[in-house]
Structure formats: structure tokens, C-alpha cells
Amino acid sequence: MGVGVKVKVWGDYALFSRPEMKVERCSYDVMTPSAARGILEAIYWHPGMRWVIDKIHVVNPIQFTSVRRNEVKSKILASSVLQAYNGSDKPLYISSKADIVQRASLILRDVEYVIEAHFEMTDRANASDNPGKFKDIIMRRLKRGECFHMPYFGCREFPAHFCLCGDEEIRTAYDTVEEKDLGFMLYDMDYSDLNHIEPMFFRAVMKRGILDLTDCEVVR
């Protein structure tokens, strides 16, 4: 067990896309461990350490709203690009209408979580690195609100405000709910083989508003 921190994060909207609904994006009910890791890495990360998410407290009730936007589908038929390229004199254009799609996203509203996490040292740490040093930097950043870049809830347009969570006891909207089964959720991506990055899933069960990840079974 490494050194642990508790971070409170909140924001107006969030979108933790379900991989099975990626085109018309639809959010999971709660933050995924992978998104939580991303938030912490936005605040502090170093090759010599690895964030491990222990618990996610769902402080606010789960509420959805929907937004439909014009988005770019960034891949275009190679043949049409070829045409545009081979015709050097005649400007061949593709109408942007062909390149734009309207997609709806089902997003979460008014979210607040407390992330409990710890970090473990990796073998890429420098000789001068130690857990105490990292811990000091992390605590300093959390107290001052410093970050590498602004953390976000799933997508960059949904910024996540963050601060150190000093509460001993965290109240959640689901304190009285004994057990809420959220089904299989993305745990994180497995980056161990960079040529084959694989998703890992786990069975998410929220107990009294807490997603406990300390000994969850990961399915590949």
C-alpha cells in the first residue's frame, strides 16, 4: 500500500463514455477508475509513479441530460482525398456537410466525487525520487490548486474543479442505498503492450455511494 490522498472533484457536467456507445456518446452513471486516474495525472504525474484508484465516492445524485452537437467525423474516403490531391490546378473541395455529423451525447449533470487513491513507485523513477517527495508535491499542488493542465470529466469541455478533501466522513447521496449494481464498467486500459492496448472491465457495485476498487476482479 502506497501513500494515499483524498481529492474532491466537482463540475457542471461530465461524460464518461461507454465504449459500447461511442458514436452517440452515452455516459456511465459514475466516474470510471480510468477517468479518475486521468484527473489525478492532470494534477501530478511522473514516470516514476503510478496512480491506483482505491475508492470513488459518488457525492451527488446521478442525473443525466442530453446535448446534440455538430461534430467532425475526421476520416474521409481516401478516394476523395486522392482526387483532391491529384488535381493540383483545379481546387477540389469536399463540402463540409459531408464531413460533419450531428451527434447526441447523454451527459451527467452537476457531479461531485471524492477520489481516494494512492500511488506506487515504478522502476522508471530517478535515484532521487521517493514516495515522500512525490507526496509532498502532490499535497502542495492540491492545496494551492496547481495543475499541469485543468483536469476534466471525460471530455475537455467539462472541466473538473478539484481540492483536497479534508472531511473525515464523506456524505453521499446514496448513504442509505445498500447496493446499486451498475453492471460492467471500464476499469482502465492496459498499456503494458503498446501495440495492443486492451481495455479492462470490472463489475461495478456501488455500496452506500462508494465504488470500492481495492480488490475488484478485472476482466479482459
Binding site: R68, N70, L82, Y85, F148, R156, F158
Partner: protein, 303 residues
């Protein structure tokens, strides 16, 4: 390229709309976006980014280093191909390009970084907002996702807005067949009589330094683009839109001096007491509570 930015910034933009539709909702027949529960109006982040891109494109006219990647009417892959050409790949055939890139990757392990840097140097919007450049990935190059330093949230109105449906007529009939039966056609537009919107944004100096090289000049251009984003964007649908405030918080350090939410909370925008239906900008008061902002953070009202 000038010097990369050295400070973290946060900014708040206030803009208003008079008798227009700032951002239509495709789900509601292009009526102004309204959060159904609170009645507050919304303008999406991508809508504002489009305006900024358009402004830069108009002002810079594709000057070197200020091209725009996500344009109207230009295929994305063509811009990607420009990056390939800079590395001496001039094939036009998709398969040959892929092979050439693979070969390049074997001979030059840093090829993808070079391509990424080339894209960042040439395209203002990639330097600013980032881009997903997975079109290279198929060729085993991973320029991947470039996260830009500038991050925008959704804009939300200060008070609930109402959307008013205006029915209009036109005397020109589209088809011959209709012209025999009627002399006018009815059309509809939805407008917001008045709405003051607020959007918050962030600029990360770290991403600028490590990835995209977003410079001080780029930042000046960004402020200019935000201030003027509606000036070159007038249309029948949008009515009168103007940026009223751009409040910039400049931190003294790259990582910042204090949490962003504290700075945003210090900017208070509210309706004047005696106003029931806000219909003009003067119906609002904008207060900046300087006492809650750390001394090391510089506050600039750009307008």
C-alpha cells in the same frame, strides 16, 4: 514562432445576444439551446471554438503558421498529407503513403514527433485547441492526440432565457407547383429576446511548453479572437451578439497560484435589483471581488 507562454491563465467571457439565436439545438428544431430544467440558455464549447477559428482564418488569411486545420470545405487528410510532404513523402496513393511512412518510422524513430511538431507549427488551431490526428496511426505512426493548452467549457446564461418563435413570410415561392396555389410561404425562426452568457476557459502553460509551442503572440491573437468572435459572424439567425467582458487571470507561475474555481467565484454577475426581465447589458452588474483573489494573480479586463 515567438516565446512559449510561461504562465497559467484562466479567463471568463461574458457575451450577450439580442433578438437572435446564439446556438441552435439540432434536437429541438434549431431552437436556442435551453437546459430544460433550469431554463438557462446554453452555448456549446465547439460553437465558440468555431467562431475563434473563423476569426483567425479571416484575419490571418492562411499566413504561414496560422493555417486552420478544421476548416469548412477542406478534407482533413489533405492537411495531414502536407505534413508527410515536409518529410519528403510525396506519394499520392494511399497505400504507398502508408508504406513510405512505415519505412520512415523504421529509419527515424522520432518521425511521429516531427510530424506532430510540424502540424503544431503550421496550424493555429492545433496549437491552441489540439487535434486528434489518428489518420497517421494506421501507418504505425502515432501522432495521436495532441491536447492543446486552451480548454473551454460550455457557456451558460446568467438567468433563464425564453425562446420566442417568430413566424415570417416570404413572397418568393420555391416550386412551380406551389406557386399555383399560394402567394406566400411561411417560415419560422426562434430567437432569444435577450440573454447574457458566461463561459469559462483555461490555458495550460505546461501543455504549451511540452507539446504544442503555443506562444505569447498566439495568446494575444486568442484574446483578440475572443473579443471579436462575433464581429465577423453576423447573420440573420444570430441577431445582435457581442462580447461584453473578457476577464483574464494571469497566474505568476506555470502551474498557477490558486485553484481556478476561486478565481471564477470572484467574478459575480447578477441582475440589478429592480429589473424583472433583463433586456439589455445595463440590466446586469459585473463585480470582481478583488479581495478573494491572491495578490500574485494579475486580473486584466481586456475590453
Amino acid at each position: 514562432m515567438g516565446e512559449t507562454i510561461k504562465n497559467r491563465y484562466e479567463f471568463v467571457v461574458l457575451f450577450d445576444v439580442e433578438n437572435g439565436n446564439p446556438n441552435g439545438d439540432p434536437d429541438a428544431g434549431n431552437m436556442p439551446r435551453i437546459d430544460p430544467e433550469s431554463g438557462l440558455g446554453l452555448v456549446t464549447d465547439v460553437c465558440l471554438k468555431r467562431k475563434i477559428r473563423n476569426y483567425v482564418e479571416t484575419v490571418k488569411e492562411d499566413a504561414p503558421g496560422y493555417q486552420i486545420y478544421i476548416k469548412e470545405d477542406v478534407p482533413l487528410n489533405r492537411s495531414d498529407r502536407k505534413a508527410c510532404e515536409s518529410l519528403g513523402i510525396e506519394e499520392t496513393d494511399e497505400k504507398k503513403v502508408t508504406e513510405a511512412l512505415k519505412k520512415l518510422k523504421r529509419s527515424d524513430p522520432d518521425a511521429d514527433v516531427k510530424l506532430r511538431d510540424y502540424m503544431c507549427q503550421n496550424f493555429y488551431d492545433i496549437r491552441t485547441f489540439g487535434a486528434v490526428m489518428t489518420t497517421f496511426v494506421k501507418a504505425s505512426l502515432n501522432c495521436g492526440q495532441v491536447r492543446g493548452p486552451v480548454q473551454l467549457g460550455f457557456a451558460r446564461s446568467i438567468d433563464p432565457v425564453i425562446s420566442q418563435e417568430v413566424t415570417i413570410t416570404r413572397v418568393a415561392i420555391t416550386t412551380e407547383k406551389d406557386a399555383e396555389n399560394k402567394s406566400t410561404e411561411m417560415g419560422r425562426k426562434s430567437i432569444v429576446p435577450y440573454g447574457l452568457y458566461r463561459v469559462e476557459g483555461y490555458v495550460s502553460a505546461n501543455l504549451a511548453r511540452r507539446v504544442t509551442g503555443f506562444s505569447e503572440e498566439d495568446l494575444e491573437l486568442l484574446w483578440e479572437a475572443i473579443i471579436n468572435m462575433f464581429e465577423l459572424d453576423h447573420s440573420a439567425a444570430r441577431g445582435k451578439m457581442s462580447v461584453r467582458e473578457l476577464i483574464v487571470f494571469k497566474h505568476s507561475k506555470e502551474l498557477g497560484d490558486c485553484p481556478a474555481y476561486k478565481l471564477f467565484d470572484a467574478v459575480e454577475v447578477k441582475k440589478k435589483e429592480d429589473v424583472e426581465y433583463p433586456r439589455k447589458y445595463n440590466d446586469y452588474i459585473v463585480d470582481i471581488h478583488y479581495d478573494t483573489i491572491p495578490e500574485s494573480v494579475e486580473v486584466k479586463r481586456m475590453i
